[in-house]
């Protein structure tokens, strides 16, 4: 009986959450395979499902899509660069603070936490000024740097926590075995941190991939904006081509889904099992 109640409760929570998540996605999918006329018919499945919208997207056959491939490339480039740079910064910081116990580590951690009191939107104008000063406006680097700035504190925080969980004896064993700090970092630390690194890399990557406000602010040229801003342009007319917008959105949503699927194993972790007796 108890088990039944528990199961029922889980279902009661699970089903609404599932619907809450899936209905909008289904809505996007429905629009993207509908013709312009039937998109707003209110049916659960279009009368004449079609892939024509995707053809239009991929062949850049619409006014708003003239730079589609260019913009998706921008999105990829910015997301990847943000992921890589954030990882590099945060991993080194976490290693130095957690394993090498550098002085001032606590202050850095507190500062990292403190940044969360400041909303990102609050920093948008100062960031715009800063990028302008350095002449980076309208360069993809401006968005990358801004995103690294926003992602790093959280990344450092999470990686530091994960580092702290690695058994300290491994460092000591490596030191006795003759490892320099750099060898320790490369041969012991990085392999053991891999699950966390993948998770944090993915986090930073998706943060940049999904970013709209900063992209909209810092980049203005058709050739430099990422697809997120490009999608926004669809809404600039009164008669937006919803079915094409949704088809583009669906394409835009695929890479994150693929990344999550590919790395789902690392999101759980567990590589350190067998290191020390627990």
């Amino acid at each position: 009986m108890n088990k039944f109640v528990r199961e029922a409760r889980l279902w009661l929570i699970g089903i609404p959450v599932l619907l809450w998540t899936l209905i909008p996605i289904y809505h996007i999918f429905l629009f993207s395979i509908s013709t312009k006329d039937s998109a707003f018919s209110g049916r659960l499945w279009p009368e004449h499902p079609t892939l024509r919208n995707f053809g239009i997207v991929f062949r850049e056959e619409h006014f708003y899509l003239h730079h589609f491939w260019n913009q998706i490339w921008n999105s990829l480039w910015i997301a990847a660069a943000t992921g890589v740079i954030t990882l590099a910064v945060a991993t080194c910081a976490a290693f130095a603070i957690s394993r090498l116990k550098v002085k001032g580590g606590r202050t850095v951690m507190n500062a990292a936490l403190f940044t969360y009191f400041i909303p990102a939107a609050f920093l948008a104008v100062p960031m715009y000024k800063a990028m302008g000063t350095y002449g980076l406006l309208n360069s993809r680097w401006s968005l990358v740097l801004a995103m690294v700035t926003l992602a790093s504190p959280y990344a450092i925080w999470v990686l530091k926590q994960a580092s702290d969980k690695l058994p300290w004896e491994l460092d000591e064993a490596a030191r006795i075995d003759g490892a320099t700090p750099l060898q320790l970092f490369r041969l012991v630390y990085l392999p053991l941190m891999l699950p966390s690194l993948v998770a944090i890399g993915t986090y930073a990557l998706l943060l940049a991939w999904n970013e709209y406000l900063y992209a909209f602010l810092l980049l203005s040229h058709e050739n430099t904006i990422p697809l997120a801003v490009g999608l926004g342009h669809f809404l600039s007319s009164d008669d937006s081509p919803w079915e094409i917008l949704m088809a583009t959105a669906l394409v835009y949503g695929l890479p994150p889904a693929a990344i999550y699927y590919a790395f789902r194993r690392y999101m759980v972790g567990g590589l350190t099992s067998g290191a020390v007796k627990t």
Binding site: A173, I176, A275, V276, K277
Partner: protein
């Protein structure tokens, strides 16, 4: 192969002093065991020798060279940790060869030395496995293999058997002992288990509260403990100790006269009378006691008795027909009686 010398080594963590000037010389090829209750500073001493803790005062020398400011990796030591500390992402082979790889040794040299160590430890079949695929005993052997491969001057063991079950612990104990007899490498071994210390050591340093209470060969500690702490720490079951008054070649305690032979105590001195459980006999004219518990173990029987309110344990060979609640008469063997000063605890 090397000697190790601690001279007046001190260690403080903040304001807390945990080692009060330890001096200890370990000979080349010796198997030295540091034993003591937890918190006595034995692991800290070992970690200072390993270079994992700073030295607050005094000197540590390996092979005559003071290593206070020498990095761990340049001390030519190898350490086996209680938790094994195997690299989980490396196979057994790579774990064992890790230190050689860091030294940029050639592949065939690494392969040869790992192979040799694996043969010594019977790890051949497991070389390509990962630590998580091994049992506790096998992991412990890999940790030892990692130490052997380096052919260091000194082996350090930090409670290496504490995580193993009782049966495996006994087996690994003899394996480590046999390994030492084969390699004859100077070894410093830390444990809280006095049985391990007794069975493995060439010499034992019994530590308590940051000091060495006594240093000596296992049987020396057993036969002539320097003070009450060592007397009660070494030996299992522990020595019976109770307080009394020394008078006329006997100790008056628990309403009886406990015989002493050739004592060094003064008349009417307050003393602690110590007698090991195995040095008590049952005799018709002995000191009366009440049997509380009888624990037959086959080869011997352990009796828990009461003299007044003092609990006394004794072990007898073979089986005992005596039952709980009965009266027994105890006769200490004179030559095995220990007397300690009641105030200082020092041997008399």
């Amino acid at each position: 192969m090397a000697s190790v010398a601690f001279s007046k080594v001190e260690k403080s963590f903040g304001n807390t002093k945990v080692l009060h000037g330890i001096s200890l010389d370990i000979a080349d090829g010796e198997f030295m065991v540091l034993v003591g209750p937890s918190g006595c500073g034995k692991s800290t001493l070992l970690r200072m020798l390993a270079g994992l803790e700073d030295i607050s005062g005094g000197n540590i020398a390996i092979d005559g060279r003071v290593v206070n400011d020498v990095e761990s990796k340049d001390r030519d030591i190898a350490m086996v940790f209680q938790s094994y500390a195997l690299y989980p992402h490396l196979s057994v082979r790579d774990n064992m060869g890790f230190s050689l790889r860091l030294r940029d040794e050639k592949r065939d040299v690494i392969a040869e030395r790992v192979g040799k160590a694996a043969r010594i430890l019977n790890l051949d079949p497991y070389l390509d496995r990962y630590p998580r695929e091994l049992s506790g005993g096998q992991r412990q052997r890999v940790a030892m293999g990692r130490a052997i491969v380096r052919d260091p001057k000194v082996f350090l063991f930090d409670e290496p058997l504490s995580n193993l079950d009782a049966k495996l612990r006994v087996a690994m104990r003899s394996e480590i002992k046999a390994l030492h007899q084969r390699l004859k490498t100077t070894t410093v071994y830390v444990t809280h288990d006095q049985v391990e210390a007794m069975t493995m050591a060439d010499r034992i340093a019994v530590m308590n509260e940051g000091r060495i209470e006594q240093l000596g060969e296992p049987l020396e500690l057993y036969d002539r403990p320097a003070n009450l702490f060592v007397a009660q720490f070494i030996g299992s079951p522990a020595m019976n100790v109770f307080e009394g008054l020394y008078r006329n070649n006997a100790v008056e305690a628990l309403g009886a006269h406990w015989p002493v032979s050739g004592a060094h105590a003064a008349q009417d001195q307050r003393v602690k009378y110590g007698i090991r459980p195995e040095h008590l006999d049952l005799a018709p004219r002995g000191i009366p006691a009440e049997v509380v518990v009888v624990e037959p173990m086959g080869a011997e029987t352990e009796l828990l008795l009461k003299v007044e309110d003092q609990r006394i344990t004794m072990t007898t060979h073979g089986r005992s027909s005596i039952g709980p609640g009965e009266r027994a008469f105890l006769a200490p063997r004179l030559e095995h009686v220990h007397l300690f000063d009641a105030a200082s605890g020092a041997r008399l």
